[in-house]
């Protein structure tokens, strides 16, 4: 009756799943227990009597193959579905059909199920296409599995631990001998040794390091690429050969069009250096077989071989510094305005190179001296030439008296210095100047002490001034800031090389005796100091004591010009090789900064009187304008910023700009050129 039972209820799935469990658990079931089950369950046995008995056997144990063959011979396939339209479910060993269990209609099975009290134990085994009835034990196992416990009730997962080995009160040591005496006596030799070590440590003969040095491992990684490792770098060892470039698309026999160089590009390769030229020029071929042999192949592999084993490789340290960060932080030029930038006015009229210029202290007039034998005065505002003195010789230097009520011009000729009345200023000044520039007794001007006078003061009739006749060629002249004293430099004058003159007394003296060949001499702008530049040094003298205070080492080959900062503590020196040195007298006797700016001789360096500017003029036809802030704080170094290169003069006989001077009150620069033009650069 069990085989008739078939139920296709909704709870089938659950039951099926539980039957799977049963199957799975059946493997685990101990054979002994299976007997037990069989024995205990009468229901099952009763069913076994009937046709399903052999199936039950299969269910119970796998080992009982010999008893009954399983009904299923086709394997684990969805039997119900696939054999839906067949009447059999496979074939047995003899080739006969294994017929399906007869199907019951739902009503019949329901009625049967309602009648049968064991119906709830029956499930349908799809695998074998039969109905089976579960035993009570199996139900129990299923229930235990569902509730998450061990399937068999007899298994106790928490058994008490049984200590199999006894160890208490079982004392039988290996040797029962008493402890030897030596175990209790400290070793004399060890004690001596320790004492010795202690003594040595205390004496410092042995150094005890706290850190325990780890033993160096004597193993190394065989397969890692250790070219970059610290070890390899430390020994400067192995440097792998550079890898050859792998072929890319351009080496293809028919590369894409963008790889093919155009005719212009190929032509441009011809202009390149041999090294820079690309080694391989991509070309297109119609097919692979028309690609010719690579003609440079052998040579290239030979080169590579040579490169690999002959070329010495060294590891070069590349310094990874941004070049921008190395530049000193300079303020922007815009913030340093005003400074001269553009030439707006030209003063034309000289017939030869303009050697020297000088601006009158009020800033209204400009004086210039030229090789054409004239000295001129110009009106700065309009560029008009107001006055011309025919001095007849090359005017080497010209200098306005810095005192505003003494409009006197000093002009240096070959051996003479002319003191000229410029004719500026009102009537009172003019009458005073006439008196000042008048020498009553021509003979009485000889200095009494010296047998051979260095200077003779003579009245100059033609130009209504004073002519100071020097015994040797005069190179430069400079006024004292008060306008009474001035100095002239006679380079070949030996002990009388530097002369000091007093205008009001018409008197000259030579206070500085032992000197080299002086180049130029200037007064300190406010103190009683005096600067003499020889070819390589600048000497600083104290005028009141007539003694040397400082000697500045310029390090240049030949000084051409010096200028003192209006503050008096900084000097710039221009040299004939185009170098300019900035000295800070407080700081050192060596240059604070050396600027190599010009390619030819520097002819003149000059400071601005009020603006923080200085400039240099050179024979390379340029004038440079610099900004220079001098701080009153002694700890702060002067700030020097190059601002502008002023061009415009044309070279003449290898000479360029011969002189440059700042306007005393405006940020304007005058430059005198060998092309006989004076230019005014304005801001």
């Amino acid at each position: 009756m069990g085989k008739e039972k078939y139920e296709e209820s909704s709870s089938d799935e659950e039951v099926n799943s539980s039957s799977d469990v049963v199957e799975a658990s059946s493997d685990e079931e101990v054979e002994s227990s299976s007997d037990e089950v069989e024995a205990s369950s009468d229901d099952v046995e009763s069913s076994e009597d009937e046709s399903s008995s052999d199936n039950e056997k299969v269910e119970e144990s796998d080992s009982s193959e010999d008893e009954v063959a399983p009904r299923n011979t086709v394997g684990d396939i969805p039997l119900v579905e696939w054999h839906k339209d067949e009447e059999h479910i496979g074939y047995d060993i003899k080739g006969r059909k294994i017929m399906k269990q007869p199907r019951k209609d739902k009503l019949a099975s329901f009625i049967e199920g309602a009648d049968d009290p064991k119906n709830w134990r029956k499930i349908y085994d799809e695998y074998n296409d039969e109905e089976i009835e579960l035993t009570k034990d199996e139900i129990k196992i299923i229930q235990r599995v569902i509730s998450g416990r061990t399937p068999h009730a007899e298994v106790n997962p928490y058994e008490d631990y049984v200590d199999w080995f006894e160890y208490e009160d079982k004392g039988h040591p290996l040797s029962n001998a008493p402890e030897p005496k030596r175990r209790f006596i400290p070793s004399k030799w060890e004690q001596k040794r320790v004492a010795n070590l202690v003594r040595k440590i205390r004496a410092g003969l042995i150094k005890v390091s706290d850190q325990h040095k780890e033993e160096e491992h004597n193993v190394y990684s065989l397969w890692t690429d250790d070219t970059d490792s610290v070890e390899n770098k430390k020994h400067g060892g192995y440097v792998p050969a550079p890898k050859p470039k792998l072929p890319g698309h351009e080496e293809a026999y028919n590369p894409p069009v963008e790889y093919i160089p155009t005719a212009e590009e190929i032509n441009s390769y011809e202009l390149m250096y041999e090294e820079d030229r690309p080694k391989f020029i991509p070309r297109r071929y119609l097919n692979y077989r028309s690609v010719p042999a690579y003609d440079k192949g052998v040579k290239e592999s030979f080169d590579r071989c040579l490169d690999q084993y002959l070329c010495p490789r060294t590891r070069k340290k590349r310094i990874n510094i941004d070049p921008e960060s190395l530049k000193p932080k300079l303020p922007s030029r815009k913030d340093l305005r005003p400074y001269p930038t553009t030439c707006y006015l030209e003063y034309r009229g000289h017939m030869g190179p303009v050697n020297c210029i000088s601006v009158d202290p009020s800033g209204q007039w400009l004086a210039s001296g030229s090789t054409d034998g004239t000295a001129r005065v110009w009106e700065i505002e309009t560029g008009r030439c107001l006055k011309i003195w025919e001095v007849g010789e090359v005017a080497r230097q010209i200098c306005w008296n810095p005192s505003p009520d003494r409009p006197i011009l000093a002009v240096v000729l070959e051996y003479d210095v002319l003191l000229l009345n410029s004719g500026m200023g009102d009537i009172d000044i003019q009458t005073k100047m006439k008196e000042l520039l008048h020498i009553s007794e021509p003979g009485a001007t000889e200095d009494a002490g010296d047998s051979k006078s260095a200077v003779t003061w003579i009245q100059h009739e033609k130009h209504d001034g004073i002519r100071m006749k020097h015994f040797k060629a005069v190179l430069s002249i400079e006024w004292h800031f008060k306008g009474d004293y001035f100095t002239t430099v006679v380079p070949s004058g030996d002990s009388k090389a530097i002369l000091l003159h007093q205008l009001s007394k018409k008197h000259s003296e030579t206070p500085f005796r032992k000197l080299g060949i002086p180049v130029t001499a200037v007064f300190h702008p406010s103190k009683k100091k005096f600067f003499v530049a020889t070819k390589k040094f600048v000497h600083v003298y104290d005028l009141s004591k007539v003694e040397k205070i400082q000697k500045l080492e310029t390090g240049v080959r030949e000084i051409s010009s010096i200028s003192i900062h209006p503050g008096g503590e900084n000097i710039i020196v221009g040299s004939k090789e185009g170098k300019m040195c900035w000295f800070d007298l407080e700081l050192s006797t060596r240059p604070y900064k050396t600027l190599k700016v010009h390619s030819k001789d520097i002819t003149r360096v000059t400071f601005h009187r009020t603006y923080p500017l200085f400039a240099s003029a050179s024979d390379d036809c340029t004038a440079y304008v610099f900004h220079s802030t001098v701080y009153s704080d002694l700890n702060q170094n002067p700030l020097i910023v190059p601002l502008e290169i002023l061009r415009g003069h044309k070279p003449e006989h290898g000479r360029g700009v011969l002189d440059c001077k700042y306007h005393p009150r405006q940020p304007w620069l005058f430059t005198a050129g060998a092309d006989s033009i004076i230019k005014l650069y304005c801001h």
Binding site: R337, P338, T342, Y344, L345, S362, G363, Q364, E381, T382, G383, R384, D426, I427, R665, Q666, W668, C682, H683
Partner: protein, 445 residues
């Protein structure tokens, strides 16, 4: 926009209406019309002339200038609209005015030396100062005719001004003042009566001494009774000329007598010398210009980079503006006679508005010159027009309504040192080429 102007730039059109403030014969019908947008002012001018010819066959073609929203059109119409952000969809209102351009270049009046001062405030005479220390008066007319030569200065003339215009209008007497680099100002009077032959030589009737350095500029106050002068000695001096006029009436020193005086300068007759009534001190460098546009207000510009406004009765500074450049010229004019135009040691002509509070930035900057600006003058009547002269040899006419010069006059071969308006429609300028150039025919409404 016309629908037929499909795409191509040349055929794009703008609806425009021409309006004007010119008198009726020059008015066109106010109807709006489509004009090609690529036209410049010349094309627009042709259109207006065509329209005028339609209504009046006798009309003679003349150039016009066009204003859109108070700004002169100086490029193609469409570019202008884009630059100014004006919609091309609306009907444009194009105001046209007569184009301001010099039409006639008169013969230059030759001088013996650089012409450094010129005054054109008199309609029939021009006053020029020259580096040869002489001041000349030129009569207007086609023939260059120098009527008077004023002798006496010992240095280059820097400035020369007519004091009393009324007198001259009646052709009675000239009353003049001149400043020179010889540190003196001289007052002159001469008869304007016509005379044939050689120019009359005149001497000064009064010498104003006081400056210790070159006098750079002289200016007369509106009441014609006071003058002010700026000098290289950093001061501005005010002089009373009303008194001296009475003093010197009819006692014009003969040339001979004056020469005697100049030889013995110490004993100059006290009657001849005038002293300053007051001195304005404040500038730290050469006062290059001082002008006196208002009875109480005086303006000065200096090489110390500042423009200062002075209150004359108190002698105090009321406004200072630092511009960063040494200034050579200054003029007050324009809107409400309040704008300050100044130029100096750079090629930029700047215009400030002192009424604007808080800001000292120039409201206009014109930088077409290539060298220092030596002179700038507002047109005596127009609010918009001014001229500037520069060391690059050019005199330029400016209109405040455009950034480009209206006209560039290149009549000089060398630096232009001075320039002025004359008779409202001419520009007189003197320069380092020793010529006084007169450019006339500049019509300004």
């Amino acid at each position: 926009m016309e629908p037929n102007g499909s795409g191509s730039d040349a055929s794009r059109q703008v609806q425009a209406r021409f309006v004007t403030r010119l008198p009726p014969p020059l008015r066109v019908p106010p109807a709006s019309m489509a004009v090609p947008s690529h036209l410049t002012r010349f094309g627009l001018s042709d259109i207006v002339n065509l329209l005028l010819k339609n209504s009046d066959p006798d009309h003679e073609n003349q150039p016009f200038d066009f204003l859109i929203d108070g700004e002169l059109v100086r490029m193609q119409l469409d570019e202008f609209l884009i630059a100014k952000g004006i919609s091309a969809e609306k009907v444009l209102e194009l105001e046209y005015v007569k184009a301001v351009a010099p039409r006639k270049q008169e013969d230059p009046r030759p001088h013996d030396d650089w012409v450094s001062a010129v005054d054109g405030s008199n309609s029939s005479f021009i006053l020029t100062g020259c580096y040869d220390t002489f001041v000349r008066i030129w009569k207007s007319g086609d023939v260059s005719e120098c009527t008077h030569v004023l002798e006496g200065h010992t240095g280059a003339i820097t400035s020369a001004k007519f004091i009393d215009i009324r007198g001259v209008e009646n052709e009675q007497n000239f009353h003049l003042v001149t400043g020179s680099k010889d540190r003196l100002l001289r007052l002159w009077k001469c008869d304007a009566a016509k005379r044939r032959g050689d120019p009359i030589r005149v001497g000064a009737y009064k010498i104003l001494a006081g400056h210790t350095s070159s006098v750079q500029s002289v200016s007369v106050n509106p009441s014609r009774e006071m003058i002010c002068s700026g000098s290289w000695d950093c001061s501005i001096k005010l002089w009373d000329v009303k008194e001296s006029e009475e003093d010197g009436d009819g006692t014009t020193i003969s040339l001979k007598k004056r020469k005697v005086n100049s030889k013995t300068k110490e004993s100059v007759d006290a009657r001849l010398e005038g002293a300053a009534t007051s001195t304005l001190v404040g500038h730290t460098q050469c006062v290059s210009v001082a002008t006196w546009p208002d009875p109480d207000v005086l303006y000065s510009a200096s090489w110390d980079h500042s423009v200062r406004q002075w209150d004359v009765p108190s002698g105090k500074e009321t406004w200072t503006m630092v511009c960063g450049k040494a200034l050579n010229c200054l003029d007050i004019g324009g809107e409400g006679s309040a704008l300050v135009a100044a130029g100096g040691s750079d090629p930029v002509l700047r215009i400030w508005d002192p009424r604007k509070p808080g800001s000292l930035a120039p409201i206009f900057q014109y930088s077409s010159h290539s060298s220092w600006i030596s002179a700038c003058k507002w047109h005596p009547r127009s609010w918009f027009h001014l001229l500037s002269a520069s060391y690059d040899g050019k005199v330029m006419l400016w209109d405040l309504r455009t950034a480009w010069p209206l006209a560039v006059m290149e009549s000089h071969q060398d630096k232009v040192l001075c320039a002025d308006w004359w008779k409202d429609d001419s520009v007189v300028s003197g320069g380092a080429d020793s010529k006084l150039c007169i450019t006339s025919g500049i019509e300004i409404q």
